[in-house]
């Protein structure tokens, strides 16, 4: 269960959500409003005691997202410099996750329309990709090389300038 903060926005109403694997979570309405999907459902009076079902978000990432939204909703308006710094630190720590969780967060934030979290997860992924060769990126994300030898050769030719800079000489195409 996510911890609800007392000073979360002007509405004290708690919104219930249900993960794809049937776990229930609660968060203040202000926090739920950070998700476009949840906001629309609240506006359409779809938020009842049974909770809003989120068919594609499992409990693990949902717990993180409820955490994120609760934190950000509590600190949304009139931030002091210290508070903004603290929120930044929270974000940095929050997104220090393995690639499986990062993937779940990317997809869930995209599905739920949580803009801030989407940006955070996208930035983190881009940071993991930067300065790496395709092979290293495949390794990081567990992606299988599905190019045909012909395609591979074409890519090599196209990127000759780039490979000159990044590849060891034995692998020069």
């Amino acid at each position: 269960m996510a911890a609800a903060t007392d000073d979360a926005g002007d509405s004290n109403e708690m919104i219930r959500v249900v993960s794809s694997d049937g776990e229930h979570f609660e968060m203040p309405e202000a926090a739920a409003n950070l998700s476009l999907v949840l906001r629309h459902m609240i506006e359409d009076d779809c938020a009842d005691a049974a909770g809003i079902p989120l068919a594609v978000v499992a409990a693990k990432p949902l717990a993180k997202i409820v955490d994120y939204c609760t934190k950000h909703a509590a600190k949304s308006s009139g931030l002091t410099i210290e508070e903004a710094e603290e929120l930044k630190r929270f974000d940095a720590e929050f997104i220090e996750v393995d690639t499986d969780m990062l993937y779940d967060l990317l997809v869930a934030a995209d599905f739920m329309g949580v803009e801030g979290l989407s940006k955070l997860a996208v930035q983190r992924t881009a940071d993991l990709i930067k300065g790496k060769t395709p092979e290293q990126n495949r390794e990081t994300f567990g992606i299988v090389n599905d190019f045909t030898p012909e395609e591979e050769e074409e890519i090599c030719k196209e990127n000759e300038w780039a490979f000159q800079i990044t590849k060891p000489p034995s692998r020069l195409c």
Binding site: T99, L106, V122, I129, N145, N159, A162
Partner: protein
């Protein structure tokens, strides 16, 4: 995670587009598109934004422009750049070793383009090409001598070609190295030159 392979390759397109937006560097973009077919397709549809070329007013400036620079290997400055660099008091010029032929171009503060070597403003390029060495210029130094001052190509000390120059930060704070990588005609790396940046104390 057993199906992780598919997962990252099949990430929703808007996520991948978002990630690409955070990869403004052409090199990262190229590396991204080499990962798998789906990433490649999406990268191809979302090329990094390039600033439209600035067009200076032509009538005011008839100097030829170098328009086809795709890679700058090195930039050599005549002096440390300062806020006075655009004046005649402390002028500063830059020579760049670029791809193409001739593989050198010049710039001074205030110019919005690089200019090729010229004899006189209106001298034809053909004439200049004759005077340039046949081999690409690998490096130039700025020197002040009895015949005046200017950039002068350094003498080729070997038959090796410079493949790349790297700027390397070491663990020592503030230490910066430039590593020059040489390749033989068979494209095998045969040597490195390492230079260390020495900062002069500035007295104000």
């Amino acid at each position: 995670m057993a199906d992780a392979n598919m997962a990252w390759a099949e990430l929703p397109e808007e996520c991948l587009v978002g990630i690409l937006r955070h990869l403004p560097c052409l090199l990262d973009h190229a590396m991204f598109s080499g990962v798998c077919t789906r990433w490649r397709t999406i990268a191809g549809r979302n090329l990094p934004a390039r600033r439209p070329p600035e067009k200076p007013p032509r009538q005011a400036d008839k100097a030829p422009h170098v328009t086809n620079i795709s890679l700058i290997h090195a930039v050599i400055l005549s002096a440390a750049p300062s806020h006075m660099a655009h004046t005649h008091i402390h002028p500063c010029y830059a020579a760049a070793i670029v791809s193409g032929n001739p593989n050198i171009a010049f710039w001074r503060p205030g110019m919005s383009y690089w200019t090729p070597p010229m004899l006189k403003r209106d001298a034809p390029m053909k004439k200049w090409k004759k005077m340039l060495p046949k081999d690409p210029i690998e490096d130039v130094i700025f020197c002040v001598g009895p015949l005046g001052e200017g950039f002068s190509p350094t003498r080729r000390t070997s038959w090796w070609e410079v493949l790349a120059r790297y700027l390397v930060q070491t663990r020592l704070p503030g230490e910066l190295l430039m590593v020059v990588r040489f390749v033989s005609t068979e494209k095998a790396t045969v040597a490195f030159d390492v230079f260390r940046l020495e900062l002069e104390e500035t007295h104000i």
